[in-house]
């Protein structure tokens, strides 16, 4: 046994002082009235030890349990590390259990030099039997903890959750998707009798309440166990003999009960008290909290307590600012769940992690429903997938399902399990492999065996893909995209396409991005990304403050999230949605709160709006309309509550209004109810189109759409010339009143900048003319008259490219110094000008695209640049297609672009002369050059 020492605890989560091998003092621990001894607190830590013997020679460091070692300053430590705790007991008699609530990732345990067990799941509890090894007097508990690095093959065989996820996109640091290690939940030693209560499961069914009790005989003799259970005013029990080292199951059936049910609105909790008596002595006892409620699948719907349930969920990953991949305090959890509830969410998706049970306790108490993921996720050893026993990964995964569900199944807030997430994301063909099917079936079977009361999602997947869902009850979709008319149309079509499924469909992931607030911290954490974003933004030519940019991106995020959620709410067969996500994780900026739990106010407000129980929804093609034009849109009402009668719906847009009366609206349905038609305001600018729904004269719901009203687009009388026939461009230009001939700027149509057009462009510029080059693809960059790089602006998994205007004001229909939210959503660029003539920006950038991460990008969408005596105006927005269909944003932008290109420019003119004494004199003036 090594020398003993005592570290000084500075409070929960931190340790100060140095371990000293000179202080041979073991903590004297005394069991409480329940026989429990808590082993939390200061432990010795040996990050360099590689064997039990090394503990005799390696100097220990102090560490706090529970806690991840990364959260205690050892950020770069991967692989193996050793823990030691020395303590003293006055009495070691009787039977004992040593309980680890969770060790990340692999644990091997020695007590007084003897191995007593191991565990290979980072998130679930395990109990070891130290009886006979534990002794009165000093004891030494040693735990070898292994945190396999992301490139360790062992990592691929673990239910590791988010550890090491997508590090190719989001490397650590500052990403928190690193691998973690440590005894991150409590350690307890417990004394009990010879028979213990191993598991207690209350089935929560008010029509047939039952408690399954699993017992284990820890002694070396047969034991008669008298088991008793009390709950909801009932008492039941049984008597059974258990052989030494064996187990048994007792079932106590209470039948129907009229005790209060648990519901989100009234989260009534009950307690089941179970005890076991052996030889007239209490051997073990357990109090289990539960709620009475039912959850089931009825065709394509989920039903909770007999009522249709529509999911309004937000995804939680369980990262915190200081504890990293560990949950906060109970008060912090209460605040977080309360915040989600205040936003109108009825469900949280606890994502690929078995959360600290305190989190589930809080949700039970606050009535927040939970969709719980088992932490089986990429990266994983695809080739080794199979059923329990087929491979290590199969065995571990099945055990992960069992361990987590057995731990959490008594929480009434939990209504749904996902046994894996996006497995095969980067290798979708895996889903067709026999090994994958065996794996999927085994996981679902394990879930059903442990908990037959809740539906199961097999692989929370990106598309419903029912052909590759072998046993799951519910189908899912993860649909990510940015605020773009094409994208909204795409998810509209996808939603409609899947309307004939035989199982419920949930959109369990979607969501756009907004930057978090960036307070300057005196002691920023290692993951703080403020400097990255601030310096990135400083290089973009954004003309206003960082704070304003941030708030504008949050406005974008909110509207994008809301409009996507509205698509899902319009479709009655979609059982609900889960927004990604409640809090940011660096660099994943789709949180409604940042990692410090500070809200993004505008994003929060928009989600609260869309989460209303009753929601009137307009299906608008665009949020840009021409002043005074008629706005027409189908109107839907999504009602997730009781039926409504005497319904009045009013749409108001500036001074105009449209009203309709309905005798009633069905409950728990989403359905079209008519059309709205009303004139847009005559004054350009931003106006809200407001829809209010009243029932019996009482205001029930309100929705509003920020609509950008532009002046009637016109380029009447502007002359342009075209370098070729350009029929598509010609049609659009003529619709704007443009005179096509040989006067005015040259206009090169979209994808028409080829060798011949390039020759004409050079000639025009050489004469001091202006050339407007409409959107070109990347391959055509070689034809521009000056060196210029076009860069695609693909949206990489959820990240967003923000567009903003500079102070140029050249495009009048777009406000200056503004992050564009919906103003350009119908015309977006596929690529931007990354550099021009060796500079990052043209002379006059008008619209700039900026993507912070991943793959930071800053480029110009609309701008102009002097080329010799001439001027090049470029626009990477795709205008012609939408303009040909009458899209207001495209027409307004095109008209503005042509107007801008046609404005004369000031060129310096010099006239020289000589003075009598031979000196030269010059007079200067501005010559106003016309476009050509």
């Amino acid at each position: 046994m090594g020398k003993e020492w005592r570290a000084t605890a500075s409070g929960e989560g931190g340790v100060t002082g140095q371990a000293s091998q000179d202080h041979a003092v073991a903590d004297r621990l005394v069991p409480d009235e329940h026989g429990r001894v808590r082993l939390d607190g200061a432990w010795e830590f040996f990050p360099t030890a590689r064997s039990l013997a090394d503990l005799e020679v390696c100097p220990p460091e102090p560490i706090w349990v529970p806690g991840l070692w990364e959260a205690q300053g050892r950020i770069e430590l991967d692989g193996e590390a050793w823990y030691r705790r020395c303590f003293s007991l006055d009495d070691a008699g009787g039977w004992w259990s040593l309980c680890f609530a969770a060790v990340m990732d692999l644990a091997e345990v020695w007590l007084n030099g003897r191995p007593i067990g191991a565990h290979d799941n980072a998130f679930t509890p395990f109990t070891l039997n130290p009886t006979g090894v534990l002794r009165a007097g000093p004891n030494e508990l040693v735990v070898r903890v292994v945190d396999p690095a992301v490139d360790d093959p062992e990592h691929l065989r673990l239910a590791h959750g988010k550890q090491g996820w997508a590090n190719h996109v989001f490397p650590s640091r500052p990403s928190l998707y690193m691998t973690y290690g440590g005894i991150w939940q409590s350690v307890t030693l417990r004394r009990h009798g010879p028979v213990i209560l191993d598991k207690v499961f209350v089935n929560a069914d008010p029509d047939d309440l039952r408690i399954d009790i699993t017992l284990a005989n820890r002694s070396d003799a047969p034991r008669r166990a008298e088991v008793a259970a009390r709950a909801v005013g009932r008492l039941g029990g049984s008597s059974l003999v258990i052989e030494p080292g064996d187990g048994a199951v007792a079932v106590v059936a209470f039948g129907e009960t009229r005790a209060l049910r648990w519901s989100p609105a009234e989260p009534q909790l009950h307690t089941a008290v179970v005890d076991v008596v052996v030889d007239g002595q209490a051997s073990d006892a357990r109090a289990v909290r539960f709620g009475l409620r039912t959850v089931s699948v009825d065709g394509t719907r989920l039903v909770l307590n007999g009522e249709p349930y529509r999911m309004k969920s937000v995804l939680v990953q369980g990262f915190t600012a200081d504890r990293l991949y560990a949950e906060g305090t109970r008060a912090e959890i209460e605040a977080e769940v309360g915040a989600a509830r205040a936003m109108g969410f009825n469900t949280l998706r606890l994502h690929i992690k078995a959360f600290d049970p305190t989190y589930l306790d809080v949700c039970d108490e606050l009535g927040m429903l939970l969709h719980c993921d088992i932490p089986i996720a990429e990266p994983i050893a695809h080739e080794e997938l199979g059923a329990d026993g087929d491979s290590l990964v199969g065995t571990r995964a099945v055990q992960a399902v069992r361990d987590q569900i057995e731990r959490d199944r008594n929480h009434p807030s939990v209504i749904l399990w996902s046994v894996m997430n996006e497995l095969g994301l980067y290798r979708p063909e895996v889903r067709s492999w026999a090994g994958y099917e065996r794996f999927a079936r085994a996981l679902v079977a394990a879930a059903r065996e442990c908990d037959p009361t809740r539906p199961v999602i097999e692989n929370d997947w990106v598309e419903p893909d029912p052909e590759h869902v072998f046993a799951g009850d519910v189908l899912t979709a993860h649909w990510y995209g940015r605020l773009h008319a094409d994208y909204l149309d795409k998810i509209e079509r996808s939603s409609a396409y899947w309307r004939r499924l035989d199982r419920p469909l949930l959109v369990t992931e979607f969501g756009d991005w907004g930057l978090p607030g960036m307070p300057e911290l005196s002691d920023p954490p290692f993951w703080d990304t403020r400097a990255i974003y601030a310096s990135g933004l400083a290089a973009t030519r954004w003309p206003a403050s960082i704070a304003r940019f941030i708030s504008e991106t949050q406005r974008y995020q909110g509207l994008s999230d809301r409009l996507q959620a509205e698509v899902f709410r319009r479709h009655d067969h979609i059982g609900g949605y889960c927004l990604t996500e409640l809090t940011d994780v660096p660099h994943e900026l789709n949180g409604l709160l940042d990692l410090h739990r500070k809200p993004k106010p505008m994003a929060v407000a928009e989600m609260a709006r869309v989460n209303q129980v009753v929601l009137p929804i307009l299906q608008l093609d665009s949020l840009v309309v021409v002043a005074g034009s008629m706005v027409r849109a189908p109107l839907y009402v999504a009602n997730d509550g009781e039926a409504l009668s005497d319904v009045e719906i009013e749409a108001r847009f500036g001074e105009s209004a449209h009203a309709m009366h309905l005798s009633g609206i069905e409950g728990y349905r989403a359905a079209p109810v008519g059309h709205v038609a009303l004139p847009a305001p005559g004054v350009p600018g931003s106006h809200d189109l407001v829809v209010r729904l009243r029932s019996g004269g009482r205001l029930v719901a309100e929705n509003r759409y920020p609509v950008h009203v532009v002046p009637a687009p016109s380029a009447e009388g502007i002359g342009v010339c075209l370098p070729g026939p350009s029929p598509a461009t010609r049609v659009v230009l003529e619709a704007l009143g443009v005179v096509i001939g040989d006067q005015g700027p040259m206009v090169v149509g979209e994808e028409e900048l080829g060798p011949e057009a390039a020759r004409q462009v050079r000639s025009c510029l050489g004469e001091g003319g202006t050339v407007v080059v409409l959107a070109q693809d990347v391959a055509r960059s070689q034809h521009y008259p000056i060196p210029l790089t076009l860069q695609p602006v693909e949206t990489v998994w959820g990240s967003s490219v923000f567009h903003f205007t500079t102070d140029s004001g050249a495009i009048a229909s777009l406000s200056r110094r503004n992050v564009l939210v919906a103003e350009d959503s119908t015309v977006q660029a596929r690529s931007v000008v990354l550099d021009i003539d060796g500079a990052p920006f043209p002379d006059t950038p008008v619209v700039i695209a900026y993507k912070p991460v991943p793959g930071a990008l800053t480029g110009t969408v609309v701008g102009s640049h002097q080329v010799g005596a001439g001027r090049l105006v470029f626009c990477q927005y795709r205008l012609c297609g939408p303009a040909a269909k009458g899209d207001a944003a495209a027409l307004a932008l095109l008209a503005d672009l042509l107007g801008w290109a046609s404005v004369p420019r000031a060129l310096l003119e010099v006239e020289e002369d000589g003075l009598a004494d031979g000196r030269r004199v010059a007079r200067y003036s501005h010559h106003w050059a016309v476009a050509r």
């Binding site: 102070d807 006059t844 010099v910 003075l915 004199v921 200067y924």
Partner: protein, 323 residues
């Protein structure tokens, strides 16, 4: 006598142009040499009846392209060189009564283009290392002609003030990896305490350690080493902020405020100047009150150590409230 002598104590060069003692001194307006030529028999320096902006070589130059040899023979201690360089006069308007503040935005914009053109033209000369655009306005700063005008000097070496500033900028770049002026601009935009005016491309602010009470620097937001690095909109913005600032100056005490304007840009001499040069226009009015001047006295002239009795933040607030 026209020559340049090196001070062996400071290492700085002093230009001697004794013929300038004879230059025109505050002539009556009808004899102004900078007015347009309306009577061909009485030509002025500008041989046209009207003009927007005119530029010509100074009739009494302190430096010329082909100077005569020095009058004295130099030595190792007392070095002397011919007064090579350029001295140009930039006449802002053909209106004798005008001033830069009142020219109007379009004319100031033209002036910006002219400055840029002359900076480029003089900078191409091998004998010129530094192009310096400046204006002396008002008799208290030594103006000898009232007609609105400025000057451009082309020096054969980088003069002491910009040389010291460039050295400081070089050290800052080495230590921090950034342009010191960019950092100052960011700081001033962030603090806001000393800002006088601003637009999307420029700010005008009282420097943190202003040497004169109402000293103001006009600086580009982004790292533009010279006028040639400004886009058309940037030049528009420069014209706008100059007009704004000068009108504030004139409103400050209720009379046209005398000042010295000094424009610093990247040197023309060979060297790695782009990273350490950041275009800025420094305005130095001598007034500390309507009826009081800030004189350069013992500390300033003798020791080069400036004392000021007006807090820059207060001066900025006063200028913000003016105009």
């Amino acid at each position: 006598m026209s020559e340049r002598r090196r001070d062996p104590l400071s290492g700085e060069w002093v230009t001697f142009a004794t013929h300038r003692q004879d230059r025109t001194f505050l002539p009556p307006s009808e004899q102004c040499p900078l007015c347009p030529t309306t009577d061909p028999t009485a030509p002025t320096e500008v041989p046209w009846p009207s003009f927007d902006v005119a530029v010509f070589d100074n009739r009494f130059p302190s430096m010329v392209a082909h100077p005569p040899p020095p009058d004295v023979a130099g030595s190792g201690l007392h070095q002397v060189l011919p007064a090579v360089g350029a001295t140009e006069v930039v006449v802002y308007s053909d209106d004798h009564q005008a001033s830069l503040a009142l020219l109007g935005r379009a004319r100031i914009r033209l002036l910006v283009d002219v400055w840029a053109e002359r900076y480029a033209a003089l900078g191409r000369r091998r004998d010129i290392a530094y192009v310096f655009v400046f204006e002396n306005r008002g008799e208290v700063v030594g103006v000898t002609l009232h007609h609105p005008h400025g000057q451009i000097y082309g020096y054969p070496e980088i003069p002491p003030v910009p040389a010291r500033q460039l050295a400081v900028a070089g050290r800052h770049l080495a230590e921090h990896g950034t342009c010191v002026v960019c950092d100052v601009v960011a700081q001033e935009r962030s603090d806001g305490l000393r800002l006088v005016a601003g637009n999307d491309a420029f700010i005008a602010f009282v420097p943190f350690a202003a040497r004169f009470p109402y000293e103001v620097h006009v600086v580009a937001h982004r790292h533009a080493p010279s006028l040639l690095d400004l886009s058309d909109p940037d030049r528009d913005a420069l014209a706008a902020i100059l007009e704004d600032l000068l009108q504030r100056y004139d409103a400050l005490f209720g009379f046209p405020l005398p000042y010295v304007m000094a424009m610093h840009q990247a040197p023309a001499a060979d060297g790695e100047w782009q990273a350490v040069s950041h275009l800025r226009l420094e305005f130095t009015p001598l007034h500390r009150a309507a009826d009081r001047l800030k004189y350069l006295a013992g500390s300033e002239l003798g020791a080069g150590a400036f004392l000021s009795d007006v807090a820059p933040e207060r001066a900025a607030a006063t200028l913000r409230a003016a105009g």
